[in-house]
Amino acid sequence: MDYEPPSRRLRILSIIIAALIGVLVVRLWQVQVLQGAWYLQQSEENRDCDYTIPAPRGIVYDRKGRPLVSNRPSFTVAVLPLELRRQDEVLANLSAILDLPVEEIQSRIAANRDRPFAPVRVRRDVGPRIVTMIEENRLDLPGVIILAEPVRHYLYGPLGAHVLGYVSEIDEAGLAARPEQKYKPGDLIGKAGIERAYEPILRGIDGRLRMEVDAVGRPLREISRVPAIPGRSIVLSLDLDLQRAAAEGLRASGQKSGAVVAMDPRTGGILAMESMPSYDPNLFATGISPAGWQRLTTDRLRPMLNRSISAAFEPGSVFKIVTASAALEEGIVSRTSTFYAPGYFRLGSWTFRDLKAWGTVNFMQGIQFSINVVFYNLGYRLGGERLAAQAKRMGLGALTGIELSGEVAGTIPSPSTKQDLVGEPWYPGDSVNMSIGQGAVTVTPVQVARMMASVANGGTLLKPHLLLGIIERDRSKTSVPPVVQREGIYRAQTLAVLREGLQAAAERGTGRASAVKGLSIAGKTGSAENPRGKPHAWFAGYAPTDAPRLVVVAFVEHGFRGGLSAAPIVGRVFMAAFPPSPQTAPPETSP
């Protein structure tokens, strides 16, 4: 045969193939040797997955050690954005399982874009059915994980909700405001009430669990674990029984809104603080739905408003305590001073009305029956400046400093401020109006409670507080001493007359409906006319009169008459605080 191999072309082919192999060698050198360390680090990060072990928040107890807020175990569905392969498909599957719009899941993922390695919580507190569905479809849901997390549990739902507050996921502003506290998106933070006020105590320190995972995110092996440190528990001065009585009393008033504050006049500790209407903070713990949030915030009655501290109302006749004490302090009246009360008070062309013509009465009767004309006279003689000064001395129109956020100060008008605020001069009629708590005077129920406590404890203004103590991690307790804000407000003589008058009012006068068998009560009603509807009903009382241990203020918005709708609430709380002892109970009749 005359076959001659095409040597040149075969050589070219060989060279091409050799060159290609050479390219591979160079590339392998580059990837494995030159960049190998970087790729090794990548592969380490690939296989390690850090999980946060959420620290349970501290438990909130009432003063008798009954838990009000605790934690319960729950399952949270979360996604790991980096592990989300076939994102559209996975999110569609997940959306079907959770019955949640895909867009909502996507927006949650987008909100977490800065931390792609961290799980993004999609839904908290899912039931066992959803957990099972996700575990069974795990292969179709790469990047979807189930986290076991404690969920905040408010044992009594709406009861005391305004005091206890709620937790929810920290927002961007909250994150920006606390750079040094190491919050992460998705972390829960106290947004209101005690949860907010004592966030640094209640919040624990999250632990970390580092696991080796496979490509679908299945944990294979634990690498390291830093245990979570639970938050510290706190004991509140609240008494669950009194809180319940307050809520029941408010409900029994038949009105839509109101508030009750019960306070220990010796310490300032709040024993009950209830605001009606209320809401269920459990809704927030698991992530409130947009519709639910909409309902809560657009409700005309504003269920999230803590009427005990965050809303100021006209005090009505409750303010007569201020007028009476100012007059007594100034010495322009004594317990035996007499007044002529024809049913009206004339000032120039103005007539100030009263319920009825009382005839000639003494000062004690004036307090007992809340006779307007008596106080019109005193207010006219005292003048606005002195009335305002006494109100301020008694803590009205100023923040009480209670731990809860959102407290408002209310308003105590005075001749010197009216000109500035309204641009009108102070008329003598303003003083007359102010003497019975009308006009521009507004106060909060907690201010009234603090004021009433100062009468009950002999003239000391105590800061109302909710925290009784902290249970430290070593189980030792730190207690909180009372904070005195002002002392010696009243002269002894003033106190004696005030107390006698208030006891007469509660037991034989306008506040009789607060009566509890076997308990001596002092108190003052109020029916505050207001431009928005029927008068607000007030009752502020303390008991027992010989050694006061409890102040209760009830406020019913548009409750009409303090003696009718507010006094029974206070009676109910006193009943819960001082239950009739078995000895005094009527003996059972034997058959």
Partner: protein, 379 residues
């Protein structure tokens, strides 16, 4: 050659002659093939040991290797000249097989590639590689020179019909292998450069058509090759993860059976198309080079067989086989280190996949065959 009278009277029996033939067997080729198959089994074990039965894939591999060994012997012993004489029926069979995939084919990842055969199934596109080499060699060998359209057009049809059938499966990788084989064989067959350049231009012109025939996932693969960051969790995922695996092996690897990317299944298809990542991760640069050295030896011997072949037919066949393996190695390894797009062609002798292994072993047999017969006097 002068034969002795004794030999004339008693024609030598095969068993006497066999040792003399064996003397011409290319033992380096055999040894490198054996090294690749055995080493490949070890790597395959490492890649699949987390499956429910860790030995499943190795057992299957052993069966395929035994079947491949028989085929290797068959292709080594049969006279390739005789084999090539049947090129027309072989070509018809190739086209029929590929067409049958459309009818009988089993689908994997949206592409029809397998034909069921009793308890087995096989990939006609793999068989087509070897058959195309044999038939093309004979076809080209029939022409002294390849210059006129009367010669070129039949050749184009010969290679083009199988390639088109494979493209529309669609199996981009295999059709690229066939194109490379075709071009290399034309080149070795003496086709003028203008013909080869014209073919290249025609292929470029056909690219948009091919693009339309591709599945969405294949198009994505090509796009992410240019920019893996486009879709790091989707199509770019395999590319990124395989580079991480290979790179993290560094100089000496994480140790056999100690690859974390491997163990944790970060790489899809790691026992088939991405098996090189296991080599790179567990055995490092050193292991990868060792593997490339084995392939290099194999390719060197294949080149030698092509050069020393006794006739043009043998030379063309050897060039086809050489190109096939060389292209496979470059594209497959290149794909795991980001040099080539992810097209899905296996690493010869190592990737899981019976049809490919059997065909690669048969092709090795063919090379041994051509090499053995380089001395015409033997036959």
């Amino acid at each position: 050659m002068i034969l002795s009278s004794a030999q004339l009277r008693h024609p030598p029996r095969t068993d006497v002659r066999t040792p003399r033939i064996l003397r011409y067997v290319d033992w380096v080729l055999v040894a490198s093939t054996l090294g690749l198959v055995v080493g490949g089994a070890v790597i395959l074990y490492s890649a699949t040991r987390t499956s429910p039965d860790p030995w499943t894939f190795v057992r299957i591999r052993a069966l395929h290797a035994i079947a491949g060994a028989f085929l290797l012997v068959f292709f080594a012993v049969i006279d390739y000249g005789v084999l090539a004489r049947a090129w027309r029926p072989l070509l018809a069979g190739t086209v029929l097989l590929l067409a049958a995939v459309d009818v009988l084919g089993r689908t994997a990842q949206g592409a029809q590639r397998w034909i069921p055969l009793g308890p087995f199934s096989f990939q006609p596109s793999e068989i087509a590689k070897l058959l195309l080499i044999i038939t093309l060699a004979k076809h080209i060998d029939g022409h002294r020179e390849i210059t006129s359209w009367r010669q070129i057009l039949p050749l184009l049809a010969h290679a083009g019909i199988p390639i088109l059938l494979i493209v529309q499966q669609p199996d981009l990788g295999t059709s690229m292998v066939l194109m490379a084989i075709f071009v290399a064989m034309l080149f070795a067959g003496g086709a003028p450069m203008r013909v080869i350049a014209g073919l290249g231009a025609a292929a470029a012109a056909a690219a948009p058509v091919v693009w339309q025939m591709l599945h969405e996932y294949q198009r994505k693969r090509l796009i992410v090759f240019l920019d893996p960051g486009v879709d790091p969790q989707g199509a770019g995922y395999a590319l990124i993860q395989s580079k991480i695996a290979v790179g993290s092996g560094q100089l000496f690897g994480k140790g056999l059976l100690h690859g974390t990317q491997n163990l944790l299944h970060f790489i899809p298809e790691q026992h088939t198309d991405f098996i090189f990542t296991v080599v790179g991760e567990e055995l490092g640069f050193a292991g990868a080079i060792l593997m490339l050295v084995l392939f290099g030896l194999w390719l060197w011997r294949a080149g030698a067989v092509a050069v020393q072949a006794k006739d043009r037919l043998g030379m063309l066949m050897a060039v086809g086989v050489l190109t096939m393996i060389g292209f496979h190695v470059f594209v497959n390894v290149g794909m795991t280190v980001g040099l080539m797009p992810v097209t899905g062609i296996p690493l010869p002798f190592i990737s899981h996949g019976g049809s490919a292994l059997v065909i690669m072993l048969a092709a090795t047999g063919l090379l041994i065959n051509i090499g053995m017969r380089r001395k015409k006097i033997l036959f």
